[in-house]
Symmetry: C2
Subunit: 411 residues, 2 copies
């Protein structure tokens, strides 16, 4: 069984919003062993929508479509699907109740045009959307061996329907599951990392190893198909062990999509407390810490000392150090990290200072230059990095690097 | 002239990464009046890649393709395009120099397989990629009236090539431009906002007004086509004036993609200094401030006081206040905002405290509850909000709300 994800919306084609739906749906289908061969996006245009459905059903067994279930006259996805299968539209009583309930909850009167949201292609399984007015549907046309699934476009409405309705429904068609693990490799170039394990990548069909790189990190995705998780894990374990052996302390297994969570988990387990002192990253490290549930037991305090005045007053950085070496220097970042520990009483201090751009560079200090320091047990571990890219990219990478340095410090 | 965006990468189909490239490319093509009718994503599979190119060129004049320009044997986009046009691959001296330069900069030896990155379909205009090893190309096959453009997959490599090479190249084929403005509306529900201006939306063809909503904000995109910017602006101005009139101080024109930049610009213009005191948002507000170039003149300092100990020691929040009302309360958020001002000497203090979840709720304090306070000129402006969604969503929305409150405070 294979699936195509078809997203409807002119706002996607205009680039006004990024298509996160296709990724979310694909990731969840992969877990139950359903391959996705294509993503397509088309605007709210009847002719092109018809073409897109024709094409999608010509190459996939299941077409999952997002968008175009709203109350306006541009919302015609259900009608196009009905037309494709030559089915009439049918009134759904349950959806009318749903609409009435949603409008009474918001204490608003239901506009007439919302009634369009109570009609579905005949034979549809109607799915209740608990986060919006637009109910969704699964149309399983068994004599044609095709399944069309229509979901609302807003991610917060679409995602629960995938989790609670679509994946359970499609699971029964899949006889194997796909289990994937991600191994992150930090501080080794993409090409170098790939070369180091080329022999493993080449030799494998199940599990497969797929590299991908981005934002200063390299991740290998190790994926196995098997009839259950235990058997898949058995296939995967030797591969992961070998990757960890070859890359040593530069590699670790990711448990979530956020690479920094590995560090935060270790931090919480260790019970070591941490404080941040950020200049150019301006709170990004603190914000990543706080995004980790349970960090409160170890995160003492964060200081965003973007101004020199704050570096001096709050962290006790010496004015002479700034005057002599400038605020973007190894000497200042060390005083910041140590100051964060001293003021907050934390075990570990992590600090950044740099030139995120676009302005602020000097002949010997280019845009993208960032000093990072981790202070722990009286030792200063300093990294000087230069990143290309926008202000936000420089800051993001510096944050990721800083958190990685914390991980290595507490290893 | 119309264009299709074709993104190559199995990692996209697995949902490992979100396809932000298609949106970026589309947005920039829209500005020069080139329509995009389809986005497609296909994996690193030669057969399906060929099909995808065939299909894309059958319905579009220009196909912009990202991904598959790397050094590995999976990277075959250039070969597939050459095959489509029946052209041989040709060595590009400039690309060899580029590779040597990139490797010498990183002080690493160039692996043999990188040489694949020096071959392009014959007749290509090779584009130098200043942010990576993979050079890009434009293949303008004038006798077939088709243009194929191949770009690297990583966004930070792709984006500058779009800005500096692709858009200037394609601009010459476009006789009109599209100018768009965005008007944000905060604090008014989506349906309500749309209803309030339904008569304007319905009556318009040029400019058009398209609403889109997400993450607690509502944005109307007003777009006009004309032969030059002045004429487009003339068409747009009366519409924007009318939107601003109807929504009053809840509406403002966005100058960047970040809704918060409007506040930050006003802040810098006003010369009023600001300090942040964040609990549940944990540095997100500070981080957004620092992402705005030039904020250093007004951003005094940020405090991430996630622990009660830090709230008391650093901001001077009274222990009795926490004991009596709990740390998630109107009373505490007020003391935090005032404390941030007092400690830093800033004119404005903005503070947050809340329960971002997933745990930490009590019967009368649900997950998603956030108190926000802006302290300015002796006045406390407090907002209590409850957001549905994940920890990160709650924190993001609270940050956006807090920054919007700063905007209204200094109006």
């Amino acid at each position: 069984m294979n699936c195509e994800v078809l997203c409807i919306g002119t706002e996607l084609l205009h680039g006004d919003i990024i298509n996160s739906n296709a990724a979310y749906i694909s990731k969840n289908l992969a877990k139950i062993g359903i391959d996705v061969h294509y993503h397509s996006v088309v605007g709210d245009n009847p002719g092109r929508m018809k073409d897109a459905f024709n094409l999608a059903f010509s190459r996939a067994d299941v077409v999952i479509c997002t968008g175009g279930l709203g109350p306006t006259k541009d919302d015609i996805t259900k009608e196009i699907l009905a037309e494709y299968f030559n089915l009439p539209m049918e009134f759904d009583e349950k959806s009318l109740e749903h609409l009435k309930m949603m409008y009474s909850r918001f204490r608003r009167e239901m506009p007439e045009n919302n009634l369009r949201q109570t009609y579905f292609p005949k034979g549809s399984i109607v799915l209740t959307n608990n986060n919006g007015t637009a109910n969704a549907c699964i149309l399983d046309v068994s004599d044609k061996k095709k399944i069309g699934i229509l979901l609302p476009g807003p991610p917060k409405e679409m995602m629960p329907l995938i989790d609670e309705e679509v994946i359970p429904y499609l699971s029964k068609f899949s006889h194997e599951i796909v289990v994937g693990y991600k191994v992150a490799v930090m501080g080794v170039g993409e090409s170098m990392a790939e070369t180091m394990i080329m022999d493993i990548i080449d030799g494998q069909t199940n599990p497969t190893i797929a590299p991908y790189a981005g934002d200063g990190k390299m991740v290998f995705r190790v994926t196995a198909k098997a009839e259950n998780k235990e058997k898949a894990d058995e296939l995967i374990k030797p591969i992961i062990d070998e990757l960890l052996r070859r890359f040593g302390e530069n590699a670790f297994v990711l448990e979530t999509d956020k690479i920094e969570d590995v560090t935060f988990k270790k931090l919480v387990e260790s019970g070591l407390t941490i404080a941040t002192a950020e200049s150019c990253t301006g709170g990004l490290i603190a914000s990543k810490l706080v995004s980790y549930p349970g960090i409160s037991s170890v995160f003492k305090e964060g200081f965003v000392t973007y101004s020199n005045e704050a570096k001096i007053r709050t962290l006790g950085v010496k004015k002479e150090t700034i005057d002599r070496y400038s605020e973007v220097s190894e000497e200042v970042v060390k005083e910041m990290a140590e100051g964060a520990c001293r003021v907050s009483g934390a075990d570990i201090g992590v600090a950044t200072t740099g030139i995120a751009g676009p302005s602020g560079s000097t002949p010997d200090k280019p845009v993208g230059l960032v000093y990072i320091c981790v202070y722990y047990k009286g030792n200063y571990n300093v990294l000087k990095t230069i990143h290309n890219g926008s202000r936000d990219i420089v800051r993001e990478r510096a944050s990721i690097n800083a958190i990685e340095m914390v991980r290595k410090s507490i290893l």
